[in-house]
């Protein structure tokens, strides 16, 4: 028996096996470290060692995702973690240094989805696109993974040793020659550490640089109040708003709360049966605020300035010399002034943060005069740290040029890319003997730095930050630093002479001061689990505005072309350039993806014979960029808009070398405007990828409007009775899902679109495929222009699957791959789909998307990247949602996985599904709460009530498809003539 066994090299136990040469070879291959021990140790010992190392390997695996310190989940305690069940942690993502409080859904230790934090006092129930996309940035495969010195990988300890030694040297001379460059700082821990550094290095120089940031708001408030102040718009209190080029609904750290308040204001007006908030927007280039306005007037910056001065004169605030306005503007002024005066303290005048400080201060004066200061416009202590003696990037450049900087620490900034073109920042930078860069990527600045330290993401390191209302949040890591990134606090600790201090300890030290030592642990736990510390909002101030002496009317604009700079609505100042979701996100008004453009007015394009995609040279002095033209309806005639954030030279594979770099034209003394630019067509064009080519409704009524008068008369927008059908009706004894989308609340911010991608594993397809019309967004936001191209009204309409009751797609499919579900969903059975695309042909809404290629695999990156490095983004995928293969149709499912989860929970607890228990991803992300989802069988559900609203209507009702997704009509003021 044994002879046979040995002859055939069978083995009965692992001991037998290890005794063979093959066994030993296998062991050596698997556990090389054990191999030398084997000779000395007995087999049993070897096994014990193997078992131990296997167990440790397992622990190591835990260590890779589970934080050592105690991070507390939002509701459930970790011991309740059930495999496959999500855990939510309250934390915050960061945007320009400000916290965006969020709940992050983790599945088995992987953060996969971001939701708003509805408990946060700053109105963060929804999110913006950046918070939604943050979870993908976490897994950026091109994030830097190691400390480098001159491009070579170094250990963190090497950096620590170098920095400690340097700091000691610097400390001897009170820190002379040390300069630190940061973005906006709201983190209490960073502030504490900065003060610590200041104590150690009294001569250290601090510089702040935010390429977009708050523009000149700080200067303006300093001018108006004598001290820097933050302004908060209480839109829910306002009746009349005049926005002077202030895109308060556009992207920015305050977008989510502003949008929530804006929706609340409209809701309040609606339920009171009153006309909605009146919003005038004067702006040179279209924005989301302009789109939401009752009246929007395209004006060049100079005209806006003149208008404000004239308004001040008219309201008797600055009684100086009157300003001459053209007759139509004068009439507008009269109208606006009258309504503002009438509204008094319920009026709100806001001026864009990038306008000259004096003008902003003047606007504040007007608010003060109207009585709205303190009512609709709340003033508070600044949320961001106003470090003393903080200089600008220009100051830093000058100091470097003078040779005053010998150690420069750049914390999470990328000045080599974002510095204004006229600074010649790189030349100055190269004079600094020691340059240290702490950042998420080996970016442009890292390339010019001696040392680069990888920065942890907001979701994988300990930190803290304050949201725009000042409420402080602790940022808890949801995974161990994926790329071995370090937090800012760890770097600052090294400089402060505390090497080895970890971020957790640094943050807790700060929070002991904030929460007090009494009962600290429980308060800390509470803060972590809630995601914020109550009562830490910025203190309100009731300062009066000092008189400002405005510079007088600027010369009226002549025919020359001026340029304004705007952050890109999707990639902002370039920091999100490597996020494929954001790159492929159609920009709200143009629906462009993967590029930035030069926006020009239709009239100007007509005069010059330009059309979309024509390349032009935009130049000022010697600096020049080559940009594609985009004809932008609603653009002021003499103004062209340059969008920041593109033309990255050193970014990851996604964001590199696309678009043009508008920073090259920027001037440090006037970063927002170029008074005169030369725009010259060159005889070339470039393809641009948009997801919507036509923005006219062609006389059709996709977006319907009604007036408060009509509603008061009880007029329904659409009759309730559905059109007849030959097919028998479906029956729904218990549940039938439905959705309404309130077009009066929708501001077109796109948060729903990104949320949908994150939730449903929707692949990105790249520019070429988008240009072909193959983008995969299950939910799109259509934008329509109405009226004259010079100043059109803009309407947004989010379009998910309509889940038709009489669905044409269900008729078309020959293999039962798209079927009507028992709860009314139009279901897509991916593994049954053979890809005839009949459903898509028959779909009147064209909400279906087809995997023409294997996009889900392709988006993980190019074949030249080893598979081991491709996988980063795989970890983000939602395990509850199938990843679709090539040749398969896909579309909005109403987040069926969330419905299933709720159904299971309800069944376990033996109760019906509660109304509001299921939130679709788009609904959860919507900052204005425009989307309502629920059970139509239940007459008391929110969605049933919304459907009973007289504003309810369905898209393309005449086709008899009976959509389950319906819209609530926009309310327009009746004095506006109904056009078209």
């Amino acid at each position: 028996m044994s002879a046979i066994a040995e002859g055939r090299r069978l083995w009965r136990s692992i001991d037998d096996y290890l005794a063979t040469d093959a066994g030993r070879a296998a062991l050596e291959a698997e556990f090389p470290a054990l191999a030398p021990m084997l000779d000395k140790a007995s087999r049993r010992d070897a096994l014990r060692l193997m078992a131990a190392s296997a167990a440790l390997a397992g622990l190591g695996g835990c260590d890779a995702v589970q934080p050592e310190e105690k991070a507390l989940p939002y509701i459930d305690a970790p011991e309740f973690q059930v495999a496959g069940d999500p855990l939510y942690y309250a934390t915050a993502s960061l945007f320009e240094g400000y916290a965006h409080p969020v709940l992050v859904k983790t599945m088995m230790g992987r953060p996969i989805k971001v939701e708003g934090n509805p408990d946060h006092p700053g109105s963060f129930a929804g999110t913006d696109i950046f918070a939604q996309a943050a979870v993908l940035d976490l897994y950026d495969p091109d994030a830097s993974k190691a400390v480098t010195h001159l491009g070579d990988i170094r250990a963190w300890s090497a950096f620590e040793g170098m920095a400690t030694a340097r700091a000691d040297v610097l400390a001897r001379d009170e820190g002379r020659g040390l300069a630190i460059l940061t973005g906006t700082i709201t983190s209490p821990t960073t502030v504490r550490q900065m003060l610590q550094l200041r104590a150690r290095f009294p001569q250290m120089a601090l510089y702040g640089h935010e390429p977009v940031g708050k523009g000149r708001r700080t200067d303006a408030t300093r001018l108006a109040f004598g001290r820097p102040r933050d302004l908060h718009y209480r839109l829910d209190e306002a009746r009349v708003v005049l926005s002077l080029d202030d895109d308060f609904l556009g992207p920015g750290p305050a977008q989510t709360p502003n949008a929530a308040r804006w929706a609340a204001a409209r809701e309040a007006a609606r339920s009171a049966g009153a006309a909605s908030v009146r919003l005038w927007t004067l702006e040179p280039t279209p924005s989301l605020t302009g789109a939401a306005s009752t009246d929007r007037i395209a004006m060049a910056p100079g005209e806006i300035e003149a208008f404000l001065l004239a308004l001040a004169h008219r309201l008797g605030v600055e009684p100086g010399t009157p300003v001459d306005l053209p007759p139509d503007r004068a009439a507008l002024l009269e109208q606006v002034a009258g309504v503002l005066e009438q509204a008094g303290e319920r009026a709100l005048i806001m001026a864009g943060a990038h306008l000259p400080a004096k003008l902003q201060a003047l606007a504040l004066r007007l608010d003060d005069a109207l009585g709205s200061l303190g009512r609709t416009l709340v003033v508070s202590e600044p949320v961001a740290w106003q470090g003393e003696h903080t200089g600008s990037l220009g100051d830093l450049t000058a100091a470097m040029r003078r040779g005053e900087v010998d150690t420069l620490v750049m914390l999470d900034v990328n000045p080599v890319y974002t510095a204004a073109g006229d600074l010649s920042f790189v030349d100055a930078l190269e004079r600094v003997p020691l340059r240290i860069h702490v950042g998420r990527q080996q970016d442009e600045t890292a390339a010019y730095s001696h040392w680069h330290v990888p920065l942890a993401h907001a979701f994988d390191g300990w930190s803290d930050a304050r949201s725009v209302d000042g409420t402080a949040s602790v940022l808890q890591p949801l995974v161990r630093p994926l790329n071995g990134g370090r937090t800012v606090h760890e770097v600052l600790a090294v400089l402060a002479g505390e090497p080895g201090l970890d971020a957790y300890e640094a943050v807790r030290r700060t929070w002991v001061q904030i929460l007090g030592e009494d009962d600290f642990e429980s308060k800390w736990a509470q803060t972590l689990s809630a995601g914020f510390a109550r009562g830490t909002a910025a203190r309100r101030r009731t300062d009066r505005v000092r008189p400002v002496a405005p510079d007088g009317a600027a010369p009226q604009p002549d025919s020359a072309i001026e340029a304004v700079f705007r952050p890109d609505p999707s990639v902002w100042d370039g920091r999100y350039a490597d996020n494929p979701w954001l790159q492929e996100l159609p920009k709200p008004l143009t629906k462009l993806t993967w590029d930035n453009v030069l926006a020009v007015a239709p009239a100007l394009a007509g005069e010059r014979g330009w059309s979309n995609g024509d390349l032009v040279h935009v130049s000022t002095g010697e600096r020049l960029v080559e940009a594609p033209v985009w004809v932008m309806p609603g653009q002021a005639r003499t103004v062209v808009t340059l969008y920041l954030g593109y033309g990255r030279r050193r970014a990851g594979r996604v964001g590199r070398a696309i678009g043009y770099d508008a920073y090259a034209l920027r001037r440090s003394d006037e970063p927002w405007r170029l008074a005169e630019v030369v725009v010259q067509a060159i005889d070339r064009t470039m393809p641009l990828a948009t997801t919507q080519l036509f923005h006219g409704m062609q006389g059709r009524d996709f977006v319907r409007m009604t007036t408060s008068e009509d509603l008061a008369r009880g007029e329904r927008v659409e009759e309730e009775e559905p059109l007849p059908s030959l097919y028998p009706d479906w029956s729904y004894p218990e549940r039938a899902w439905g959705m309404t989308i309130d077009l009066d609340a929708c501001i077109g911010c796109n948060a729903c679109v990104v949320a949908c991608m994150a939730e449903n594993n929707t692949p990105t397809v790249g520019k070429e495929q988008v240009a072909m019309g193959r983008e995969m967004h299950w939910l799109r936001v259509d934008s329509y222009f109405e009226g004259e191209p010079e100043d059109p009204r803009v309407h947004f309409q989010p379009v998910p699957c309509m889940h038709c009751e009489k669905a044409p797609c269900e008729i078309g499919c020959p293999v039962n791959a798209t079927v009507h579900g028992p709860e009314g969903l139009n279901q897509m059975v991916y593994n049954r789909c053979v890809g005839t695309r009949t459903c898509a042909s028959f779909c009147p809404y064209k909400v279906r998307h087809f995997n023409f290629f294997h996009y889900a695999e392709a988006e993980l990156h190019q074949p030249d990247v080893p598979i081991s490095e491709r996988g980063g983004r795989l970890a983000q995928r939602n395990p509850d949602v199938s990843v679709r293969a090539r040749g398969v149709m896909e579309k909005c499912t109403y987040c069926v996985q969330r419905i299933s989860r709720a159904r299971i929970e309800a069944k376990k607890e033996g109760r019906p599904i509660r109304d509001g228990e299921i939130e679709t991803a788009c609904q959860g992300a919507c900052p204005t709460r425009a989307i309502v989802f629920g059970n139509l069988v239940d007459p008391e559900s929110n969605v049933s009530k919304a459907k009973a609203d007289p504003r309810n209507y369905t898209l393309l009702r005449e086709l008899g498809t009976r959509p389950r997704t319906s819209y609530l009509a926009k309310i327009v003021t009746s004095e506006q003539p109904e056009e078209d």
Partner: protein, 449 residues
């Protein structure tokens, strides 16, 4: 004779002569050099076809120009075009057999071959067109462990049955009709293996009276089956569009409109082939001027019926008052694809008006040109109907133009090459004109005369 009094086969001296002339072609091919050149050229396109198919399977249907809102493109419009072409073959063979039109006998064989090959070309498109072609059999209702049936409300399902039935019946009809002639070739073949092959294919045909009787019953049954299939198949094809709600598609006119268009196109292609074969092989005695005259009349008649379809499709779009239908009509007339509409009108309506005149019908080159124009015109029409229904449908936000990619074109060129390649094989290997039927027609004609 049901046709008019003048003789069709006036030029042929005897049945035996007709027989010899036709069987000579597969056995002693008269123009081997030309054939080989043509074979090489079409062979190249068969390679193009192969490469296009392999690349398509390798990469996915994304290699084509399709997108949203035009998820159907060349694959479907070419499918409709190919299958339409087949219908005339069936009609000539079966319908005219049933209504006793003896003149058909010299053109029915290659018309039938054309049908079979065209249906093959057509049939491959819906499979290539699938996102996951390896699962095409899920459309077939077969008992399976998934216990899922196909969805019988889908027009694609109807098409599956229609096309597969049509293919089977067409092949059967073609083959049954071929049996006596295969026997003829067998009898004249000299080499043993040739005898063997044709012998097996001839199924032991000895030409006995009983054989003839049974054969005729079978042949007539097949003919009886094939004729209604023409109507049902192409009605099914049209429902592929008409069942959808898309403007420009959702019309009850479509089945009739599509069937007539298909027959029209088929007659044009038969005319092209008849003229080509007659010119190349000097078969003027068999494919006579009289034949061409009749084909010309048929092209004209079916063309006029198709024109009626154009007129009323447009009229209804306007008369419905439906903004989407009207929008699509305007797109057809003046939109981005107006060229395809006007090409359709020019080729299918205007050009055929010359065929009113007998002198024109009898000018071979002119008839050939018109038939070629109609073949192209029908292709343009199918493309126009498909694309204009989709590229600007209801929501303006989803409007986008469709342009076929290189691989769309290469596959299309490949299918044309493959079709001609098969046709060349047919010409070389099979009596391309029905020997016994011509003989029969000649006998009847003489008996009448």
């Amino acid at each position: 004779m049901a046709t008019t009094g003048d003789s069709i086969f006036a030029g042929v001296r005897s049945y035996a002569a007709a027989d010899r002339k036709i069987t000579r072609i597969p056995l002693h091919y008269p123009y081997p050099k030309r054939w080989w050149i043509a074979f090489a050229v079409t062979g190249f396109f068969v390679l193009v076809w192969l490469v296009s198919v392999v690349w398509l399977f390798w990469r996915g249907v994304g290699v084509w120009g399709i997108q949203m809102p035009v998820p159907w493109g060349f694959a479907i419009s070419n499918y409709v075009w190919w299958i339409g072409m087949g219908h005339a073959g069936t009609l000539i063979s079966a319908l005219f057999l049933l209504i006793n039109q003896g003149w058909r006998n010299s053109i029915n064989r290659f018309a039938e071959a054309m049908t079979v090959f065209a249906v093959l070309m057509a049939g491959m498109y819906p499979i290539l067109h699938l996102g996951r072609p390896w699962l095409f059999y899920w459309l077939i209702p077969y008992p399976n462990t998934m216990t899922v049936w196909p969805q019988f409300k889908s027009p694609l399902e109807w098409d599956l049955f229609a096309v597969s039935t049509y293919l089977i019946v067409s092949v059967l009809f073609f083959y049954i009709g071929l049996i006596p002639d295969l026997a003829s070739v067998r009898d004249r073949a000299r080499r043993r293996w040739v005898k063997m092959i044709y012998g097996v294919l001839a199924l032991g045909w000895r030409g006995s009276a009983r054989h003839w009787k049974r054969w005729q019953v079978a042949y007539w049954i097949c003919a009886g089956l094939a004729v209604p299939l023409v109507v049902s198949v192409h009605s099914g094809v049209s429902l592929l569009f008409a069942v959808g709600l898309e403007p420009g598609w959702h019309s009850t006119l479509f089945p009739a409109y599509f069937v007539l268009g298909a027959v029209f196109e088929g007659f044009a292609v038969v005319t092209l082939i008849a003229i080509s074969l007659r010119t190349i092989f000097g078969l003027e005695v068999m494919v006579t001027d009289r034949h061409l005259d009749i084909l010309g009349k048929l092209v004209l008649a079916t063309g006029l019926m198709t024109a009626y379809g154009y007129l009323f499709d447009s009229f209804h779009a306007w008369y419905s008052g439906d903004p989407y239908e009207r929008g699509t009509l305007m797109d057809r007339l003046f939109g981005g694809y107006a060229w395809s509409f006007w090409a359709t009108i020019l080729c299918n309506v205007v050009a055929i008006q010359l065929l009113w005149f007998e002198s024109m019908r009898r000018r071979t080159w002119l008839l050939f040109t018109i038939a070629a124009l109609v073949t192209f015109g029908m292709w343009a029409e199918r493309f126009m109907l498909l694309v204009t229904g989709l590229y600007r449908d209801f929501l303006t936000s989803s409007w986008q133009s469709y342009w076929p990619s290189f691989w769309d074109w290469s596959l299309f060129a490949g299918t044309i090459g493959l079709f001609l390649f098969l046709f060349l094989l047919f010409v070389r290997l099979v009596p391309m004109i029905s020997i016994f039927e011509v003989a029969e027609a000649m006998r009847e004609e003489r008996a009448d005369g």
